[in-house]
Structures are given as structure tokens and as C-alpha cells.
């Protein structure tokens, strides 16, 4: 019914000049702010041999491995946190729920600084990971924490407990119930959260830059490599490496779209 009303409303809306103006203005804004700079970037990308350099390959490899590890850890930790927030009851739960969003609100450079303060050379806990690959993973875990939690939480909230009760009454163990009943329902949400976390991790800069030490071949991630190329006056090489990062982010975004379509395949 609503769809029919929509279709009927369209010709009327089109007659007015206002929507055309709105579309025109927002398209112009989007083109000037987003598309024009990216077009310039693509146009300027040369020095592709720089991408094949050992340093660039090392940076890209580290970025992909670290992001992949971080995505996997998030799949487990994020699901557990979402579970705790939805199915558990304890004092201070709403505070914990708000705390999960902190990495979205906190500037990344502040995130990096706080990790460096507690887990750096002057660590009061005697845990010093600064300038190691662990530091890269730690920083990426901090900034990507909310993604899986926030995609899984609403699905868990809507999931009926009746199916679980039925499974339990049929003699399924808790582990079997989780694996056979709950997991298939929340898997698309986990995957899409994991993909978002991965995409974010691939491009991360601010959180990593202080704590990783940016040692080429050891702790230098792709964004930091691009930053280094800019600083040393090689915008062409920086642009070429950027296009590679862009390609990865795009691929992940497309994959998320694919996961969403797969997840809603029964709804249509």
C-alpha cells in the first residue's frame, strides 16, 4: 500500500522546482567536496614502481595482516560484548553500553596517546609494546571496537529466545544451542561488522602514528607510508599507494553490500 502511495506521489513532487534545486545543490556540493579532490588524486597517481618497492610492500602486508587479525579478534570479542549487553543483567550495564561508543567519539590521536601512556615505555603496568607490531594491533583494536558490537547487538535483541528454549528442551547443550541456533542468525551481522572493522583498520592513521614508532619494514602501516611519501616530496608515489588503499576499501564496501543482500535474501 505504502509503495503504491509513493508511486502516485512522485509526479506531483516532480512538478515543483524545489526538489530539483535541492538535488542540484547537493550534487554540486558532493562533487566539489568529494569527487573533485579524488579525481585529482587519481589523475596525479604515477610512479607505480614505488608501489613495488620493498618498503611499500612491507607496509601494505603489515596493514593487511594486522587488519585481518584485528577483524578476527573483533568477531569474537565484539560478539561476546554484544551478548553481555543484551542477554546479561548487571549493575552499570548502561554505562558499559555507552562506553562501547567511546572509540567513535574519541579523536584517534587521543586514543593513540592514551594507549602509549599505559602500554608504552613509561608504562606503570610494566607492559611496553610501543614500537612493536603488537602496538599496531592494539591501536587498531581500540578504534574498531564498536563495529561488531553495534551490528550484532540489534540482531540479538530481536532474536526470539523461544528457539533456544526449544533447542534446550530437546537436549541440546549450551554450546550446541549457540552453534546451531544462535550463530546462524547473527552470522551476517558479525560478518558485516567484521568487514566494517577491517575497512576502518586498513585506513587508520591517528591511533597508530604515535605508538607504532613508524619503523619502515617493521611497524610502518600503509597510511603512515603514504604520509611519509608526502613528507619527502613524492606526491605521485603517495597517490599511487593511496589508489591501492582506496581499491581495498572499495572491495570491502562491496563485500559488505554482498553480505547484506545475502542476509536479507529470505526477506524479499
Amino acid at each position: 500500500m505504502a509503495a503504491r502511495a509513493d508511486a502516485l506521489a512522485l509526479p506531483r513532487a516532480r512538478r515543483s522546482a524545489a526538489p530539483g534545486l535541492g538535488i542540484g545543490l547537493s550534487t554540486l556540493y558532493l562533487s566539489v567536496i568529494v569527487l573533485l579532490p579524488l579525481a585529482a588524486l587519481a589523475w596525479r597517481a604515477h610512479g607505480w614502481d614505488a608501489i613495488g618497492s620493498d618498503q611499500a610492500v612491507a607496509a601494505l602486508k603489515l596493514t593487511l595482516f594486522a587488519s585481518f587479525a584485528v577483524a578476527l579478534i573483533n568477531a569474537v570479542a565484539g560478539t561476546a560484548i554484544a551478548w553481555t549487553l543484551v542477554r546479561d543483567r548487571f549493575f552499570g550495564q548502561s554505562f558499559v553500553n555507552a562506553l562501547v561508543d567511546l572509540p567513535f567519539a574519541l579523536p584517534t590521536i587521543v586514543a593513540g596517546l592514551t594507549l602509549l601512556a599505559l602500554y608504552g615505555p613509561k608504562s606503570p603496568a610494566a607492559v611496553d609494546v610501543a614500537f612493536t607490531r603488537w602496538a599496531v594491533v592494539l591501536a587498531l583494536l581500540f578504534v574498531t571496537l564498536p563495529f561488531v558490537v553495534r551490528t550484532v547487538q540489534p540482531v540479538l535483541l530481536e532474536l526470539d529466545t523461544e528457539m533456544e528454549d526449544a533447542a534446550a528442551s530437546l537436549g541440546a547443550s549450551r554450546v550446541a544451542t549457540f552453534r546451531r541456533v544462535i550463530l546462524p542468525n547473527i552470522l551476517p551481522a558479525i560478518l558485516s561488522g567484521v568487514a566494517l572493522a577491517f575497512a576502518r583498520a586498513v585506513g587508520e592513521f591517528g591511533a597508530v602514528v604515535l605508538i607504532s614508532g613508524n619503523l619502515p619494514f617493521k611497524t610502518e602501516v600503509a597510511s603512515v607510508y603514504v604520509f611519509g611519501r608526502i613528507e619527502s616530496g613524492d606526491p605521485g608515489g603517495a597517490a599511487a599507494a593511496s589508489v591501492v588503499i582506496l581499491g581495498i576499501s572499495f572491495g570491502v564496501l562491496l563485500a559488505i553490500g554482498g553480505v547484506r543482500r545475502w542476509a536479507t535474501r529470505h526477506d524479499r
Binding site: 505504502a2 502511495a5 509513493d6 506521489a9 512522485l10 513532487a13 516532480r14 524545489a18 526538489p19 535541492g22 538535488i23 545543490l25 547537493s26 550534487t27 558532493l30 573533485l36 579532490p37 579524488l38 585529482a40 588524486l41 596525479r44 570479542a77 561476546a80 560484548i81 551478548w83 553481555t84 542477554r87 546479561d88 558499559v96 562506553l99 561508543d101 567511546l102 572509540p103 567513535f104 574519541l106 579523536p107 584517534t108 587521543v110 596517546l113 592514551t114 594507549l115 602509549l116 601512556a117 599505559l118 592494539l138 581500540f142 571496537l145 575497512a199 585506513g203 592513521f205 600503509a222 597510511s223 603514504v226 604520509f227 608526502i230 606526491p235 603517495a238 597517490a239 593511496s242 564496501l253
Partner: protein, 258 residues
């Protein structure tokens, strides 16, 4: 039952080790020797100037992105136009791009030898404004689009049938329905605008007292071995983040129970 406690304990321990402890520790270190060293650090001339730059960036980026966000959301949901799919995808782009790549793109476009080069945009505040607008662009659109989809067009049609103009319909019917979503989007936009580091860092040129925003100032202080200055300005940004969180949690239920 032990399973439930194990999951709870593991989740809370993870959050404590990764989030609460580091942030809490920096707060403690900042106020370790009382309030006054921290106050002196954040009221130093360069710190105040950095705060001013940050506020300028937000005060330009947030209103522009809010107006764009509402217009773009209306365009996406209410109208069919050629290239709507591409439009939708481009709006999401800034969420997926590395901030350094954003900064580099602006540097190439407005820098020496660029298509629009030579107008004093890069290594100056205008470039930082453009970078901030770029990275904080999608939030209002993303919050308003689902609400517009949900409310449908019946009330707007009724208003039009009763002789309301497009402008009247928007202010009397559409706007009251989307204002909380817009407000929530504005909060997210503001948080991102105040906290942006990578994109701004590439185009700023890092001139202390001139083109340094508060996030750049934090890095500058840390690298100059001024821990008190770095921690104190980080705490200012963290307090803004906490205020954002409070606003987010107070605005969200209104949207859900509407």
C-alpha cells in the same frame, strides 16, 4: 550459569584493558599534581589558538554538512533522479577512506601545480576546513535517510492536498519528524570535525600558533616531550568526546520511541 559469568567477566575485562584503563590513566596523569598545571597547559597561547582553530573548523563544517545532509537525504529518499545510485555511494565514501588519502587528494588538487592550486588553500586554515568538511560529510545523511524512509509520504501528500506549498510542507510536516535524527547526525558530525587528525595533518603544514588544530597540538606537544601539555589537551578533547557520548545516549531513545 558459570558460562554466563565467564562471558560477562571476559567482556568487561576486555573493555577495561582496552578502553577504560588507558583513558582513565591519562586523566589521572593530567591531574596527578593538581588542577593548576593542567589549566596552565591548556591556557598557553598556542593551546588556546589551537582550540580556536578547531572551533573554526567545526563551526564551518557542521552547519554546511547539516544543510547538505538534509537536502541529500530528501534527494535520496523522495526523488528518483539519474545517478542516484552513484550519489548514494559517493556519500558513503568518506567513511571508508583513509584520512591521509583525503588530505593527499586535497593537497594535489589545491597545492602547487594542482588544478585549483595557488590560492593559499593548502598549509592554511581553508585547506583544513575542506578536509574537515570531507571527513564529516556522511553523518547527517546517514541518520536522516532511514527516518525519512520510515515516515513515508502520506502526511506530506495530505499537506500538499490541503494546499500547502513545498516549503510549508517541509517545515510543518517533514522537519518535525526528522529533527531528532538531524540532531543526532549533528552530534556525530561535530565529534568527527573536532577530532579529525590525519586529513587535517596532511594539509595543515603544522605551523604552531597558526595552522595547528587541537588534535595536531596534542601530537606536537607529545613530540616536544611536553607530557603535561599533551595529556592536558588530550583530556580537553576526551571531555568533548564524553559530552558527545552523553548527547548521543540522550538523543537516541527519543528517536527509537518516537
Amino acid at each position: 550459569m558459570t558460562g554466563r559469568y565467564a562471558v560477562r567477566f571476559a567482556s568487561l575485562a576486555y573493555l577495561a584493558v582496552l578502553l577504560a584503563a588507558p583513558v582513565g590513566y591519562v586523566f589521572w596523569r593530567t591531574f596527578e599534581h593538581g588542577f593548576s598545571p593542567a589549566w596552565h597547559a591548556v591556557t598557553a597561547p598556542d593551546a588556546l589558538h589551537a582550540l580556536k582553530v578547531t572551533l573554526i573548523l567545526a563551526c564551518i563544517a557542521v552547519p554546511l554538512n547539516t544543510i547538505f545532509g538534509v537536502l541529500a537525504a530528501l534527494a535520496i529518499v523522495r526523488h528518483r533522479f539519474p545517478g542516484a545510485g552513484v550519489f548514494n555511494a559517493v556519500v558513503d565514501l568518506p567513511l571508508a577512506l583513509s584520512p591521509v588519502v583525503v588530505g593527499l587528494a586535497l593537497l594535489i588538487l589545491y597545492g602547487r601545480g594542482g588544478w585549483l592550486g595557488g590560492h593559499g588553500v593548502v598549509f592554511a586554515v581553508p585547506g583544513m576546513v575542506l578536509a574537515t568538511i570531507f571527513v564529516s560529510l556522511p553523518f547527517v545523511v546517514r541518520e536522516v535517510v532511514p527516518v525519512l524512509r520510515e515516515i513515508g509520504t502520506e502526511q506530506e501528500q495530505a499537506a500538499a492536498t490541503l494546499g500547502a506549498s513545498a516549503v510549508q510542507t517541509f517545515w510543518r510536516v517533514t522537519w518535525p519528524a526528522i529533527r531528532w535524527a538531524t540532531a543526532y547526525g549533528v552530534v556525530l558530525t561535530t565529534a568527527r570535525a573536532l577530532g579529525e587528525f590525519g586529513a587535517v595533518s596532511v594539509v595543515s603544514g603544522h605551523l604552531a600558533g597558526q595552522t595547528e588544530s587541537l588534535t595536531l597540538y596534542v601530537q606536537d606537544r607529545y613530540q616536544s616531550f611536553d607530557e603535561v601539555g599533551a595529556y592536558a589537551s588530550a583530556v580537553v578533547l576526551a571531555l568533548i568526546a564524553v559530552a558527545t557520548l552523553v548527547l548521543m545516549t540522550t538523543l537516541k531513545p527519543k528517536e527509537e520511541t518516537r
